[in-house]
Amino acid sequence: MDQLIPSQQSPAVNPNRLRQLQALGILCGFGAGAWLGAAEAPTKLVNVGISPVVVSLLMVAGVFLARWSVPALVRGTGQIGWDFRQAPHLVVWGVLAGCLWAVANTLTIFAIRDVGLSIAFPLWNMNSLIGIFWGVTLFNELRNAGARRWLSVLGGALLMFLGACLLAYASAAQTTPEHALRGIVAALAAGVLWGTMYVPYRKAYLTGMNPLSFVAFFTIGELVTMIILAVSYGGGASPLLRELVMAKEVLFWLLLGGFVWVIGDVFQQYAAKYVGISRGIPLSNTNQLWGLAWGILVFGELRGRGLSLYAQVIGGSLLMAAGAGAIAFSSVTGKEHGSWHEAAHREGRRYGVSAEYVQAGLAGEDSNRKIAGANSRSWLDWSIVAIATAVFVGLAAVSRIPDIAVNWAAVALLSAILAAFLIACGAALWKATRFS
């Protein structure tokens, strides 16, 4: 087995390359925040009497389609097969992460019902603090990083948490919590589940797996768990099917929300890969800021409310931006990256993964490309893309444009920002790593 492991004295990644990957991870973290926040917008268009669990299931169905079609289009399913052969144990981790996501998402629905968004959102947003804890204790993140970087990351995460509290308080609807304890426990449990979900993420990326392959396995656990939960809470398969048929006019919007969410999540995965979970996750938690921007600018939420409310929104946004800035500037040092390197090779040794594969992953390179040459798409890839497109087009054809006031100028502005992030992150990922 020792021949699989390169010498620990050899430099993991050269300093210039490390800086390039760091910048890429930070850009992807901010891109993730913008796209994850925008994913809430299509769901705001849905105002019919379908249960929250079914809304969640439909979004996951959109997520499933996107999680297979986007990787098929960008890299081809052949690359997923290559990753599977190199590190087959990561399938288990991907499915497990998907199960964690589905249960956490369902818990948030109950938390919002019981205590309202204002209390629930900051509670589950502490997932970044849980992520930092696991990153430090299990994967050597922030080890040998120095006091200044520790302060930047922890202080930044705390600032973001305070900002999230202020924003959530400002955006709260007038609700009367009836089951406060139940709701608080649900929100805290969702935060712990989401924070722990990053353990499988980090495990996969330290071992060298490509994020686009990991999400394809992740979504199997996500969809299966969500179907089981929806059937359980909906009283069986027949009532669930009836509800889906009844909601056919809004299916498109929910699936679209899932699709937008996947773009954000893909950027979040690359951020976790290149800057670690202790930095990548707080950055992508800026999604709350973007969700609020869509709510206020596009849907006119908070219109006609007092100046103090706007002051809270601006104050909360500035706190979140300051926290994100502190984390973004606490770059990983060569010494800290050396600790990541040790953790990566520990994983490689444990599971018998080839050292070349692990090393290529750390350096943002594609080990398969070196061996097999350029990526190519097969008939299977084009079939997956065609099926996903047909589903979206078909549902769009039977969908109804909701009767809701929308500020189209704000939609255009925010969509342009999303497009700018998509182009910037996509181009940077292609240029630096060829989506590795």
Binding site: V92, L100, V103, L107, F110, W134, V185, V199, P200, R350
Partner: protein, 41 residues
């Protein structure tokens, strides 16, 4: 040296996953989450 059979490789990988303490942390959290979900619903 002979290559391990496919079933042998899977068996070995399964055992390695089950012996990895990192695996049991998310599993325990998932079970806890399901228990909370059962309690609140």
């Amino acid at each position: 040296m002979r290559e391990p059979s496919v079933s042998g490789r899977w068996q070995s990988l399964t055992l390695t996953v089950l012996r990895d303490v990192h695996f049991w942390i998310p599993v325990a959290v998932l079970l806890g989450g399901l228990a909370v979900l059962r309690w609140i619903s």
